[in-house]
């Protein structure tokens, strides 16, 4: 078990290093001088040289790379004042002078994570339940209808769904639903200036972001349940006279949920990226909005930071799920003990 966990951890670290390296080289070969980018349109050779010196851009690539790894690593170097663990340093924003990327992402990430979690939760609940329901009536009318609907849901680009939902639910049906066209988790009261929680604003963005996952999870659940349901040990469970409830929850679901959980965990990270559109359209103050603003102003550290954070989250989640399944599955457990 320990060997398996260590092996997975090693793989994860190796992948993370690869991601960090890829991101570094992608962004250091950016056409255009990053020092110049920081200064904007100003033409000032002295200032340019000062910026280069400050960020170490005058050093050879190898040194810059080493410094970069040192900065973003969450583990402190020996002889460092940070101690063993430290917050990764993702640098300073080019355009928002003096603002640390780490703190910018720290402010926006929870909003996006909440949005993505709400979307996945909604999708798991609805998609999972409907998928399980139709798996008991394959090729029936409802099966075909739901498969068609889920395919349609999967085909809608999220920015279009966002526009559509905003228009239909917040504008056309606005008087009935009481939902706003745009808005963040926290609203500022017009009179007192106080921030207050506005969970209502989560509904439309989460629904929009969850529409594709609902379709995918529905089909995944249905197919996985049908596939596992055709296996011999399920027939054995029925031959024992077990009630269908027991067969489903104790024998079928634990095996069939494996591909679903694996897919969903891998997906969470891409959903954070996919939240970009939803955040812009609904004015949700999250990481996606930060990223698009950074793109438009060519703010390199923020873009790099967002990519790194999301990729790291992906690696961490998939590794966790892998290890978790190994703990739960006696076959894998035996193999690595």
């Amino acid at each position: 078990m320990i060997r398996f966990a260590l092996q997975k951890l090693g793989q994860a670290l190796f992948t993370l290093w690869g991601v960090a390296t890829l991101v570094f080289f992608l962004f250091t070969i950016v056409p255009g001088d990053s020092a110049q980018m920081m200064l904007g349109k100003r033409e000032d050779p002295a200032a340019l040289a000062a910026v280069r010196a400050k960020y170490g851009l005058d050093k050879p690539i190898a040194v810059q790379y080493a410094n970069y790894l040192k900065r973003i690593s969450p583990i402190g170097w020996p002889n460092d004042q940070h101690g063993i663990f430290k917050a990764p340093d993702l640098g300073e924003s080019f355009q928002r002078q003096g603002q640390q990327v780490t703190s910018l992402i720290g402010q926006t990430f929870p909003n996006t994570a909440l949005l993505a979690a709400a979307a996945i939760g909604f999708a798991l609940l609805v998609g999972g339940a409907l998928g399980a329901w139709v798996s008991y009536r394959p090729d029936s009318f409802w099966d075909k209808a739901l498969l068609t609907f889920s395919s349609l849901g999967m085909s809608l680009p999220s920015f279009f769904t966002a526009v559509l939902f905003a228009w239909v639910f917040a504008y056309l049906l606005g008087p009935w639903t009481g939902l706003n066209l745009t808005g963040s988790l926290y609203s500022v009261d017009d009179y007192s200036g106080e921030r207050y929680l506005n969970l209502k604003n989560l509904i439309l963005p989460a629904l929009t972001l969850g529409i594709r996952p609902v379709g995918v999870i529905l089909q995944l659940t249905r197919n996985s349940l049908l596939q596992v349901g055709a296996m011999d040990f399920i027939r054995t469970a029925r031959a024992k006279g077990l009630r269908e409830r027991t067969v489903f929850f104790r024998h079928l679901l634990p095996v069939a949920s494996n591909p679903i959980i694996t897919t969903v965990s891998g997906w969470f990270a891409s959903l954070l990226a996919g939240a970009v559109f939803v955040e812009i359209i609904f004015g949700w103050n999250g990481m996606g909005k930060l990223l698009v603003e950074a793109l438009n102003t060519r703010d390199l550290p923020i873009t790099m930071g967002c990519v790194l954070v999301i990729a790291a989250l992906f690696v961490v989640l998939t590794t966790l799920v892998d290890v978790l399944y190994a703990v739960l599955d006696p076959r894998i457990r035996a193999e690595f003990f």
């Binding site: 992948t15 991601v19 999967m154 526009v163 970009v276 559109f277 990729a311």
Partner: protein
Amino acid sequence: MAVAAPIVVLDSTSNANDMDLNRVLLGPGSKTDMGLHLFGTDKYGRDHFSRVILGSRISLTVGFIAVSISLFIGIPVGAFAGYYGGRLDQFLTWAMSVLWSIPTLLLVIALTFVLGKGIVQVFIAVGLTMWVEVARVIRGQFLGEKSKEYVEAAKVLGFSAPHIIFKEILPNTWGPLVVICATNFASALLIESGLSFLGIGAQPPVPSWGGMIREYYPYLITGKAYLSLIPGALIAGSVLSLNTLSTVWSERD
């Protein structure tokens, strides 16, 4: 007149970028000296129908080029990793998992940051990220196929590795390959429209569906909803038909 209308419309696609500020935002079915405007005109007085039709060109081209690039890289990488295994496989799998860790949309955004804004950059960026999915599928197929007896038979019969890889095994991966191509085509289309929506894909005045939605979604609440609904429906329709194709293909015997 009725017979002539389609011809006029088809002909007018060549005028998709002609602006005329005298005929801004006309309703669907309006007629001007340019002919019939089936979907009306946009805010620069351009024929919306022509631009929608031209938008398909961008979407389809992105799809084709991205899928071609992804096949060109993905097939050999996946085949060699799956067939040879060992250190080569470990290295290639690592490279794939690195690229796989960065969501496609983000990777494309990062690449366009490097390569600059524009439609050609989108082609390349999408192709360069999607090969991973092709390689994963092909590798999985090869892992499954290579232990089958027909592959062992080919080894015993003295055939070379390239013969076994490309002539014996590859034809058997055709089914999943078609499925992944259709799916990739669909996601390329989605990514292109998404990037254009963000303003980093096709640059104006090139007409693209995503760009049109970007431009016209504020018009939803002015009663001109069709301006953005039509391109949106077309994206969804294309993606749906591609996804349906891949489902039908994967379920055929």
